[in-house]
């Protein structure tokens, strides 16, 4: 691995943080660094925090709408790893390199300035975002925080070692690889446990697609093995009849679905998983805890009510309830505020466009236009067949939320839909990063 400038900064910062415990001088220099201005602001400026599906789209579409506005994208990970399609890495159909990209084209093709650093504080009054590498001023701030896991909802999932033993892999990256490797290393006859968190969570059909692809792998490579889905919900939350049909046709005796069986406890020494319905001894366990907004949403003070775990934002513009000129998009948004849209990559992409337009227009003294969003999401059920869900969303002026204008699922699974899934990914990756 070559050490990029960004990594050098990261390592230096980490070293400084470690040294800070021992002496105050390094602590002071770290603080000095944070107050130093990154790229002093001249004209109109939009800062986008979070370079995932929502953030990359918002940055690109803001520049497309008005190239004269300066757009800065702040993100901590130099690599863009796609969560959609990552189930195919776990299932063995794709490699990490197939879903790993850079954001270089956003800089090259649109003039977006990308800063690889971590945000630590927000001053929404003087409009400053503090990062570990300095303070960035903004006129408008769009935050796409993604999700984080509520590990504390499961007993025993309380240490890095326990988390490594039971990877959630719902943020594509090292955990995706770890889970794949565990499956490959597992002895035939082993039991795989997967937990589905209570709604709302990122990518409603995601766990069921993954379970299907793991069952597909076990069927071919691990005779005698099976996967048990422990679902916190009372039924399959998305594309239910289509998944169940595929499971009945292909994975009888290999895939077992148990509703109303939320995981309450894990034991890393024995691999025993405890659910509301009993205990299962696992060889491999993909424990997906209850989800909440990404940590930055909490750290930057975006939560509106003490009990909130997702961010309330206006459904017309995605401006946060808490701060003027600070907008929140993607999986981290609160469905009670924005309306009944799924936490999908496609919806984050749509939200990014709506929000970018609202931000650019208000910055230029114009009224934002009415939101229009869509969603299409494919799930593979084996090596070459897929199912999907599609919907169009519009703004309802009476309830001031986003509502469905049309929607439906594929009538059956088809090989053609699998080709559409592949090309859908190429299309939406292009729309965010190209």
């Amino acid at each position: 691995m070559t050490i990029s400038r960004r990594n050098l900064i990261k390592y230096t910062t980490a070293a400084a943080a470690g040294a800070a415990v021992l002496g105050t001088s390094t602590l002071a220099s770290a603080a000095q660094k944070q107050t130093a201005k990154v790229m002093p602001k001249k004209g109109k400026r939009i800062v986008v925090l979070g370079g995932g599906w929502g953030g990359c789209t918002a940055a690109k579409y803001a520049k497309m709408e008005d190239p004269s506005i300066e757009v800065i994208l702040v993100e901590k990970d130099p690599k863009f790893i796609s969560c959609p399609i990552s189930n195919l890495v776990i299932g063995g159909q794709k490699k990490m390199s197939d879903i790993t990209f850079t954001r270089d084209n956003l800089a090259k093709n649109y003039g977006i300035k990308i800063v690889y650093t971590e945000a630590v504080a927000l001053d929404a009054v003087s409009k400053k975002l503090t990062t570990v590498d300095g303070t960035i001023e903004y006129d408008k701030l769009i935050i796409s925080p993604g999700i984080s896991y509520a590990y504390d909802t499961i007993e025993g999932l309380d240490s890095p070692a326990a988390i490594a033993k039971f990877p959630a892999a719902f943020k594509a990256g090292p955990e995706t690889v770890a889970l794949r490797n565990m499956l490959v290393a597992m002895k035939p006859g082993g039991v795989v446990v997967m937990s589905v968190p209570p709604t709302p969570y990122r990518c409603p059909p995601g766990p069921y697609e993954r379970a299907s692809l793991i069952a597909n792998y076990l069927k071919k490579h691990k005779p005698g093995s099976k996967i048990i889905i422990c679902d916190a919900n009372d039924d399959v939350t998305s594309k239910g009849p289509l998944f169940k049909k595929a499971w009945a046709d292909y994975y009888q005796g290999i895939l077992e679905y148990v509703p109303d069986s939320q995981v309450t406890k894990v034991d890393m020494s024995t691999g025993v998983i405890t659910t509301e319905k009993g205990e299962i001894k696992s060889a491999v366990a993909n424990i997906i805890p209850t989800m909440k907004a990404g940590q930055s949403a909490f750290d930057l003070g975006l939560m509106n009510k003490p009990e909130d775990t997702f961010v309330r934002a206006d459904a017309f513009t995605f401006e946060s309830y808490n701060f003027k000129d600070v907008y929140v998009i993607g999986d981290a948004t609160h469905n009670g505020a924005v309306g009944g849209v799924p936490k999908s990559g496609y919806v984050a992409n749509s939200m990014g466009k709506v929000c970018a337009s609202a931000v650019v227009r208000t910055l230029n003294g114009l009224e934002p236009v009415e939101p229009s969003l869509a969603n299409t999401c494919y799930s593979m059920v084996n090596d070459d067949e897929a199912i999907f869900v599609s919907a169009v969303y519009k703004y309802d002026y009476n309830i001031k939320k986003i509502v469905s204008a049309s929607g439906g699922v594929s009538p059956k699974r088809e090989k053609l839909f699998a080709k559409h899934e592949e090309d859908w990914a190429l299309g939406i990756w292009n729309d965010m990063l190209g």
Partner: protein, 194 residues
């Protein structure tokens, strides 16, 4: 007086020289407002990079408007995705979205094509009068779609639907007697046509 005149000219020059983007930013067409979300599948500006999703940027507006209305009405069967999506918009909105993508510059498919199949497809196209409606470069006109430089998998699937009668069209009845191999060759040819 002279000063006033100068001011007038300055104002005039400013009005003329004001960048188009500023003006464009003020008016968002209905087609743009609604059509941006289509790019989630069809890519930015409708230049879908894959094989099985259609390129829509620069497609003929009249054809797209008709296709979208037929999807919504359920008379253009086969693409389940588009049948669901098109129902989410009014007829006027579908026309606006079509005009939005129709106004973009066409960009040819980047699909790889097979030389032998392209040659075979060219012969089939000439023998069956494809160029009569779709033009020498497959550029189409009005209600006849542009097929030159379209993505090949999408075209092949669309032609299969014409063949099976899922999409009704007198003109496209020409594909009813063709084999699937012939349709593959035609798709390869038209996808490669510039």
């Amino acid at each position: 007086m002279r000063k006033l005149k100068l001011l007038f000219y300055c104002a005039l020059t400013a009005a003329v020289l004001t960048p188009a983007v500023v003006f464009a930013a003020q008016t968002v067409t209905e087609g743009e407002r609604l059509g941006k979300s289509c790019a989630g599948c069809h890519a930015t500006n409708g230049y879908a990079p894959g094989e099985y999703i259609a390129r829509i940027g620069g497609q003929n507006t009249d054809y797209m408007t008709k296709a979208m209305k037929d999807y919504a009405a359920g008379s253009r069967k086969g693409s389940v995705e588009m049948s669901i999506v098109a129902k989410g918009y009014s007829e006027d909105q579908l026309a606006a979205i079509s005009a939005y993508y129709g106004s973009k510059k066409w960009m040819n498919s980047t699909n790889k094509t097979d030389k032998k199949l392209v040659a075979k497809g060219k012969k089939i196209a000439a023998e069956n009068g494809c160029f009569d409606c779709h033009g020498a470069k497959g550029e189409g006109m009005d209600a006849f779609p542009r097929i030159g430089g379209q993505n090949k998998g999408y075209m092949e699937e669309a032609m299969k639907r014409y063949k099976e009668g899922l999409i009704e069209s007198e003109e496209m009845a020409v594909v009813k007697d063709m084999s699937e191999e012939q349709l593959t060759a035609l798709s390869e040819f038209f996808s490669s046509l510039r």
